[in-house]
Symmetry: C2
Subunit: 249 residues, 2 copies
């Protein structure tokens, strides 16, 4: 049924997938960016997304471990450097931690991941397992959500600064670096899948991998919305604003 | 900090974990059992839980593959027989499929798992991966939610028959067998962990494994509630009552 697409048509399909399924469409993000969340709800977002951030270098190291040649490994290795930094105060994870502390969370509590929603863990771990268990082509394709992140980052930074008095430019510094890292990374991954998806089935697997990754991001926001917005069913053991200092000990 | 517990004290801890974290406490189950759901919502439950059922023999086969002696493998093998049956019309999965068709779903659509919520997949796959990646003791302990299932089954069958005119005793026949299988299986697993958790750390790992499994069940109901009850955000691509026949083709 599926036919071999030109590289340009494959790219168009991927961009359309993002337009329909990327989490910029999720109602939680609309609330986050428009000032519709309480500080506790923003904390829940920062806390849960920390778990996602903390797994990214694991995911990227798996991809490096699977790349066949030194040239491509060197390129992908940059993601490890970007995320883990050169010392404890640097890199994307450290900057996300500053964001979490900046919105009022306890650093040890965030790093313990004790209050993370189980659904966040399941979705994020599914992503790491996908990258380990599927073809290298699919593993690389699943990173293509970064094609769509500059747009959401611009909206987010402007919206959060305008709408929350507990958010400062320094708190959001994580996103400054992502604005140039994400397009560079996405360009490489997009060129890779366009060059390496050589059959209709491989092209389909690339589209399915991007759809899977959109599901991973979407499910994290569904879980946040369900626990902390409506209906507000916080699962047993997950982050509660009042219990935070106690849970942190 | 943790001390070695007697076998009886370990069992008491496990039972208390179930009292606080098993999914009989989840508001979705209260709605399901009391007649508070529409037929479409019951369909969403049956469809998503089919994915869970369909993965159980994978989980049990992994455990069989890890058991060191023929005697324990023979005992655990019974779960494969119970679930997969001796032919296509038999066993727990076939009976769950009858339940799904009985509440009005298309059999091919259910078996395709196309409408399954991503969050259901992530939670269920996390369970299968847990059983593969953790210690054998933890893998076996994660099955201990079956200690608590007879209570919920009795409530469910009585409640659903009383409250939904689209549910018949035949539709619910899956649960008849579970009423004697689950206690037999749980007794074996409980005796195993009581005999084999010999250090405080191992006992703690058993309790954590049960807590993890409770999270797996809870997250599935959170996802159902969020998508199909409130706020009713159905993620892209998931089951929609009206779209079912179309999606099934």
């Amino acid at each position: 049924m599926t036919e071999l697409l030109s590289a340009a048509a494959l790219e168009a399909e991927l961009r359309e997938t993002g337009e329909r399924r990327y989490h910029h469409l999720h109602p939680f993000h609309r609330l986050l960016h428009s000032g519709g969340l309480s500080q506790t709800q923003v904390q829940a977002w920062a806390l849960n997304r920390y778990y996602y951030q903390s797994r990214i270098p694991h995911k990227d190291a798996i991809i490096v471990s699977r790349l066949p040649d030194a040239a491509s490994r060197r390129i992908w290795r940059q993601r490890l450097i970007d995320h883990d930094g050169d010392d404890a105060d640097e890199g994307g994870i450290a900057r996300w931690l500053r964001l979490a502390v900046g919105v009022g969370l306890d650093q040890d509590y965030v790093q313990s991941a004790a209050g993370t929603l189980p659904a966040t863990r399941f979705a994020v771990d599914a992503y790491v397992n996908f990258v380990r268990d599927r073809s290298l082509l699919e593993a690389i394709a699943s990173s293509l959500t970064e094609l769509f992140s500059p747009g959401i980052i611009a909206t987010r930074v402007a919206g959060m600064l305008a709408n929350y008095d507990f958010v400062s430019p320094d708190t959001l510094s994580y996103f400054n670096n992502r604005l140039h890292q994400a397009p560079r990374d996405a360009d490489y991954a997009l060129a890779y899948v366009k060059a390496n998806a050589r059959t209709a089935a491989e092209q389909q697997s690339v589209i399915t991998a991007l759809r899977f990754k959109c599901d991973v991001l979407w499910a994290q926001l569904d879980a946040l919305y369900s626990a902390y917005v409506a209906p507000g069913h916080i699962p047993p053991g997950a982050f509660l604003a009042d219990a935070q200092p106690e849970l942190a000990r």
